[in-house]
Amino acid sequence: MVEDELERLLSRTALGDRRAFATLYDRTNGKLFAVCLRILQDRVEAEDALQDVYIKIWRYAERYAASRARPMTWMIAIARNLAIDRLRARKSPAATLSAAETVADGALRPDQKAMAKGEAKRLLDCIGGLANGDGRMIRVAYFGGVTYAALAERDGVPLGTVKSRMRRALGELKRCLAP
C-alpha cells in the first residue's frame, strides 16, 4: 500500500534519514505541487510555497504519528495550509474569492471525476448531489480559504444567512458521506 510506504518514509525522515526524505519528496511532490498550483495559480509562488512545505515536513515529521491522519492527508493539510496563508497574504479577500471561483470552475472536469476512486469518488458524488451551487462553494472554500465574511460581502447578504446556508449544506454533506 502506498500509504504504508509513505508512513515508513516519514518515520525514517523523523529519525533524520536524508535518503528516506528524498524518496518521500520524489513520491509526493507531484501531488503537493499540484495542490499549491491549484491554490496559488502562479508557478513561482507555488514553487516557493512547496519548498516551505517540505521544510515543514522535515522539521515536523515526528509529529505526524500523533495526528491519526494518513500520511498523505497530513502532508496535503500542511501544503494547503501554507498555500492558503500565502494566498491570503497577497490578495484582498474579494480578489481571493474571485480567483478561487475561477479555479473551482476549471477544477473538476467529468473525466477527472470518473477517474476518482473509493472515498474520493464518494466525496465528489456527494458534493455533486448538493443543491444550488453549494457543492461548488465547498470546493472553492477547500482550495481558496475563503471566509464567511468574504462570501457575505460578495453576495451582499448578511453573514448569518451565509453561515446558515453553508452549515445546512455541510450537514447534508456529512449525512451523505456517513457510511
Partner: protein
C-alpha cells in the same frame, strides 16, 4: 443536529477555512486543549481529501528540491535543531496530556513564520482572560516578534516588559492584524527569563504616561528554549 454533528460541522468549517481570524484562533485554543476536537479535525481533513486527490499531479522543478536540501541539510549537519518550543508552550499552558495533540496540530495551526524561524531563543505564551493565547518570541539579538492580536474593542494593544521588581517598560504597540517586531532594550536582555511580558489596552498612539493606563489583558513569564 446532534452535538456530534455540530462538532463535525464546526471541524469542517475550520478545515475549509471559512472562519475569520478571531473565530479560528478561538477554535484553535479549544483544539489544542481537546483531543476529541483534534480527532474531528483530522477526520474532516480525510473526508475532504478527495478534492486534492482529484487534482492531476504536477512534477515540481528541480530547483525546489535544491532549495529544500540547502535549507535542511545546511552546514553538513544531518538535522537542523528541532523547534522544541511548542512542546514547552503546550506543557506550560495546556497541560501534559495534550502535548501530543498540540504538537501534531502545530503544523497546520500556526502562522508559518512562527514555525520556520529558527533563531527564537525565548518565548512567552500570553494567555488572555478569554483564553486566547498569543506568543511573544525573542531572538538571540533581542528582536521581539509578536503575533497579530485583534481586539474586539476600541484601543490598541501595547506590549510591556516587566523586569523583576521594577516598573513596566514599554516595548511597543502591537498590530492587530499582522505580526509586529520590536527591539528589546539592551539593558533588559539579561533579565528576560526573570521578567514577564504583559499586554494592556491603551488609547490610539499608546499610553500617554509611559506606564500602563488601560486594562492588562495578559501576563506571561519568559522561558528560554
Amino acid at each position: 443536529m446532534s452535538l456530534q454533528s455540530e462538532q463535525d460541522v464546526e471541524a469542517m468549517e475550520y478545515v475549509l477555512g471559512l472562519m475569520d481570524r478571531e473565530e479560528r484562533a478561538e477554535f484553535e485554543v479549544g483544539l489544542l486543549d481537546d483531543p476529541v476536537i483534534a480527532d474531528a479535525v483530522w477526520a474532516q481533513e480525510e473526508a475532504f481529501r478527495g478534492f486534492a486527490d482529484a487534482v492531476p499531479r504536477r512534477q515540481a522543478p528541480q530547483r525546489v528540491w535544491k532549495g529544500v536540501e540547502d535549507k535542511v541539510f545546511a552546514g553538513g549537519s544531518a538535522k537542523e535543531a528541532r523547534p522544541s518550543f511548542w512542546l514547552r508552550v503546550a506543557a506550560g499552558v495546556f497541560g501534559g496530556a495534550t502535548i501530543l495533540a498540540a504538537t501534531a496540530l502545530a503544523v497546520i495551526l500556526l502562522e508559518p513564520t512562527v514555525l520556520l524561524e529558527p533563531k527564537t531563543q525565548y518565548v512567552a505564551a500570553i494567555v488572555q482572560s478569554d483564553d486566547r493565547v498569543t506568543l511573544a518570541r525573542v531572538n538571540a539579538n533581542g528582536r521581539v516578534v509578536t503575533q497579530a492580536l485583534p481586539l474586539g474593542t476600541n484601543g490598541v494593544p501595547q506590549l510591556w516588559f516587566l523586569p523583576p521588581g521594577e516598573d513596566p517598560v514599554p516595548i511597543g504597540l502591537m498590530d492587530q492584524n499582522a505580526a509586529s517586531e520590536f527591539d528589546m532594550p539592551p539593558e533588559l536582555r539579561d533579565f528576560l527569563t526573570s521578567g514577564q511580558f504583559a499586554i494592556s489596552v491603551e488609547p490610539e498612539g499608546g499610553s500617554p504616561t509611559g506606564q500602563p493606563t488601560g486594562p492588562i489583558i495578559g501576563v506571561a513569564p519568559v522561558s528560554e528554549l
